[in-house]
C-alpha cells in the first residue's frame, strides 16, 4: 500500500471506521477524528484509564466460564491448548495478519465489556522497556488480585530483555528486511490453494527476524504460560503481540505487503468472535490498515526536512548552562546542586550515591513527557530530534572530577538503583550512561590541568524509572560506579566529583 493511499485512509479514517464499525455488531462507530490510539504500556501510569480498562476487561473475561464463547479461556483456546497450537499460524506468512485479527477480538471485546469506547490495547515496547511492565508484575492491585499477573513466568520483575533480542540493531534489521515474505515470514512450502489447512501449517515457511528473534525469544524469556502453546492465557501476550503488530505497521509506512492472492485472499474462516458472540472471519486483505479496524499507532509519513526551532532553542540554553556553572535559574532552566559532595568518592565496591533535592513538578514533567522515538522507525531523524528537543529534559552535570586509574576505568552513571553493583547491566532501566576520562591531571608546562567535568542526560532513565510511578518525591539519586574497561584491565579506579548539579531544561 503506498503512502499516498495511506494518507487518504488516515484522513478519511473517521468515515471508514464508521462504515466498518456499523457492519460489526457490538462495535461503536466513532464519529470524528482518529480512532483510539494504541500506546506504549511503558508510558502509562498504573492507574491510567487504559491500563484499568484492560484490567477490568481481563478480569471479566476470566470470570466468565470457559463454556462461553466470550471468555478468557475460550479466546485463548483459539490460539492453543495445553498440548498444541490450535488455529494460530507460526512460521508462515499468515502469522502477522492472523495475530492482528486475534488482538482485534480482544480489543473490541474489552470496549464492549467495559464501556470504554476509547480503549486501545497498549503495546509492550520491549526495545525501550526491557523489563516486564509494572502493571503485569504486581500480584495485587488496589487490594484485589491482579488479573494481569501470572505467577508461573520465568522472567522476574528485575530481569531485562537483552540487546541481542530486542535492541535497536535487531529492530533496524527487521525493518530493513524486504519483501514481505522475508520480513513477515514466508508462505508455506508448496502452498497451492486457499485451503484453510495452509493457515496453521506449522513452521512450513521460513521465519524472518521479526518472528524468529524478538517474537519467539520474548515468549521464551517471559516463560511460564508464555513459553508454550497456552501462551494466550497470560495477559502480557496481547501487549507482546501488539508490539509485533506495531512493527508491521511501521514497516508498512515504507514497504508494501505481498500482493499474492494466496496470501491476500485467505479467509480466517470462523477463527474469531465478534463481541456479540458471532463469528468474525476476516480476509487477510481486510487487515492491512489499523485505522480501518478501529485503532491507530499514530504513524504519520515523515515530513520534509525543515528548520528545527526546538533544537536551536535547546542549543542556546545548553550554551548558557555550560557557560554558567553556578547558575540556579533562568528562563527555561532550573538547576539544583547536591550538597556535601566533596570528599565523597566512587569506588568499585561502593558506588557514589548522591541525593539531589529537586523540584518535584519538574521531575514529574520529565518523567511524563511524551516519547519522541529515535527516528529509526520512519528514518526521519530530523523530526525525531526536533520532538526530543522540545520536551522537558533533565541533565546531570558532574564537575571537577578527581579520578584515579582512569586509563583502565569506565564510569557508569545510574539513578536511584537500590541494587547497584558490578553485576548491574547497562540494560537496566536505571542506567544513564558511561563516561571515560582521557589524559587528565597531566601537567602541561608546569600548570596543573583542570579536573574534567561531564554532563549526562537523565531524561530517558527518569522516564523508565519514574514514568509509571504514582508517587514521586522531589529527590533523585545520582550514582557513579567505576568498572574495568576491559576484561584484562586491573581493578578500576575511583572518581570523586567536586560538584553535582541536576538541571531541568525546556526548549
Amino acid at each position: 500500500m503506498s503512502i499516498s493511499r495511506r494518507n487518504v485512509l488516515l484522513e478519511g479514517c473517521a468515515i471508514w471506521a464508521g462504515v466498518i464499525a456499523t457492519q460489526i455488531p457490538g462495535v461503536v462507530a466513532l464519529a470524528q477524528g482518529q480512532p483510539p490510539r494504541r500506546r506504549s504500556v511503558g508510558d502509562l501510569q498504573l492507574n491510567d484509564p487504559i491500563v484499568q480498562a484492560w484490567r477490568d476487561g481481563v478480569r471479566q473475561l476470566k470470570q466468565t466460564p470457559a463454556s462461553k464463547a466470550i471468555s478468557w479461556a475460550n479466546f485463548a483456546a483459539i490460539h492453543g491448548n495445553a498440548n498444541a497450537f490450535n488455529l494460530c499460524p507460526h512460521g508462515n506468512w499468515y502469522f502477522l495478519p492472523w495475530h492482528r485479527a486475534f488482538l482485534l477480538m480482544y480489543e473490541r471485546t474489552v470496549r464492549q465489556l467495559t464501556g470504554h469506547n476509547d480503549f486501545a490495547l497498549p503495546y509492550w515496547d520491549w526495545t525501550a522497556d526491557r523489563q516486564l511492565p509494572a502493571a503485569f508484575s504486581q500480584p495485587t492491585w488496589n487490594g484485589q488480585t491482579n488479573p494481569l499477573y501470572e505467577s508461573q513466568r520465568s522472567m522476574s520483575p528485575t530481569d531485562s530483555l537483552p540487546d541481542e533480542i530486542v535492541g535497536q540493531g535487531v529492530i533496524a534489521t527487521i525493518l530493513g528486511e524486504t519483501p514481505f515474505e522475508t520480513f513477515g515470514t514466508s508462505r508455506p512450502s508448496g502452498q497451492d490453494s486457499l485451503d484453510q489447512s495452509w493457515i496453521n501449517c506449522k513452521g512450513c515457511g521460513v521465519s524472518g527476524t521479526l518472528e524468529a528473534t524478538p517474537h519467539n525469544n520474548v515468549h521464551n524469556i517471559v516463560g511460564g504460560l508464555m513459553g508454550g502453546t497456552q501462551s494466550a492465557l497470560d495477559a502480557i501476550f496481547m501487549m507482546h503481540h501488539c508490539n509485533i503488530d506495531r512493527i508491521w505497521a511501521v514497516w508498512n509506512v515504507n514497504n508494501q505487503n505481498s500482493n499474492d492472492p494466496l496470501w491476500t485472499d485467505m479467509t480466517f474462516q470462523n477463527n474469531f468472535y465478534n463481541p456479540d458472540g458471532s463469528f468474525y472471519s476476516p480476509k487477510v486483505s481486510d487487515l492491512y490498515t489499523p485505522e480501518t479496524l478501529g485503532y491507530t499507532y499514530g504513524l504519520a509519513p515523515p515530513p520534509a526536512a525543515a528548520a528545527a526551532p526546538a533544537i536551536m532553542a535547546l542549543g542556546d540554553k545548553m550554551k548558557t548552562l555550560y557557560a554558567t556553572p553556578n547558575m540556579s535559574s533562568t528562563a527555561g532552566i532550573k538547576s539544583f546542586t547536591a550538597p556535601n559532595v566533596q570528599h565523597a568518592a566512587a569506588t568499585a565496591t561502593k558506588p557514589l550515591d548522591i541525593a539531589v533535592e529537586v523540584d518535584r513538578n519538574l521531575l514529574v514533567a520529565a518523567a511524563r513527557r511524551a516519547p519522541a522515538g529515535a527516528g529509526n522507525e520512519l528514518l526521519d531523524f530530523n523530526t525525531a530530534r526536533e520532538r526530543a528537543a522540545s520536551g522537558p529534559r533533565a541533565l546531570a552535570f558532574i564537575r571537577d572530577i578527581a579520578v584515579t586509574q582512569h586509563k583502565n576505568t569506565l564510569y557508569r552513571v545510574f539513578i536511584d538503583c537500590d541494587y547497584l553493583s558490578q553485576g548491574t547491566p547497562i540494560s537496566d532501566p536505571h542506567y544513564v550512561g558511561t563516561f571515560g576520562i582521557f589524559g587528565v591531571h597531566e601537567d602541561r608546562g608546569g600548570k596543573a590541568a583542570a579536573k574534567p567535568s561531564i554532563v549526562v542526560d537523565l531524561t530517558r532513565a527518569i522516564k523508565r524509572v519514574y514514568g509509571s510511578a504514582t508517587e514521586l518525591s522531589g529527590r533523585i539519586r545520582i550514582q557513579i560506579l567505576p568498572v574495568p574497561n576491559t576484561s584484562t584491565a586491573g581493578p578500576p579506579g575511583t572518581a570523586a566529583p567536586g560538584r553535582i548539579e541536576v538541571a531541568f531544561v525546556s526548549a
Partner: protein, 156 residues
C-alpha cells in the same frame, strides 16, 4: 613381496577412502546436533536458482532447517548463528532465533522442519558455501538438557 606390498597398499588405500567416505557421509546425513556445551558446524550452500522464488528479490539470507528440538530442563535457550571467516579464523554473528513453543519438537519428515532465515552480510555472501557455527545459549541457568538438531542450511 612386491605383490603383497601392493596388496597392502591397496588395502590401506581402500581403508582411507572408506574412512573419508564415512566422514563425508557424517557431514551430510548424520544429524547435526548442538547442545549448550557442544556447538555444531553446518555448511550452507547456495540453493539452485529455480528454487529461489520470491527470495530472489531479497538480500541474501541463510535458511536454517531445524528438524528437532528439546528445551532445557529449566528455562529457555536461543540458537546463535555465526559465520566462520576463513581469512582471519574469526566468526561473525549473523542472527539468533528461538524455538517457539519452548517444547520438544521432532519433524516427522524434512518437509515439517522449522526454518529460519538470517541475513547474510554482503562481504560473506559471495562464495558458493559458508560454514556456520550454531551455538545453543541459555537465557538463565546452564541450559542443561537442551538440544537442537539442524537438518541443513542453504543460501538464498
Amino acid at each position: 613381496m612386491g605383490d603383497r606390498r601392493l596388496r597392502l597398499m591397496g588395502t590401506a588405500g581402500a581403508l582411507v577412502v572408506a574412512v573419508m567416505s564415512q566422514s563425508s557421509i557424517a557431514g551430510q546425513d548424520r544429524p547435526l546436533v548442538a547442545t549448550v556445551t557442544n556447538p555444531t558446524v553446518v555448511t550452507a550452500t547456495a540453493a539452485p536458482v529455480a528454487d529461489q522464488g520470491v527470495a530472489s528479490q531479497s538480500p541474501t539470507r541463510v535458511i536454517i532447517s531445524v528438524t528437532a528440538f528439546r528445551p532445557p530442563h529449566d528455562g529457555a535457550v536461543q540458537a546463535v548463528v555465526k559465520v566462520q571467516k576463513d581469512g582471519d579464523r574469526t566468526e561473525q554473528e549473523i542472527g539468533r532465533f528461538g524455538m517457539f513453543p519452548n517444547a520438544e519438537f521432532k519433524a516427522a519428515d524434512p518437509s515439517k522442519a522449522q526454518r529460519f532465515g538470517l541475513p547474510l552480510p554482503k562481504e560473506l555472501a559471495g562464495g558458493e558455501a559458508v560454514k556456520l557455527n550454531v551455538y545453543l545459549v541459555p537465557f538463565k541457568g546452564d541450559g542443561g538438557g537442551a538440544m537442537l538438531e539442524i537438518g541443513g542450511a542453504e543460501i538464498r
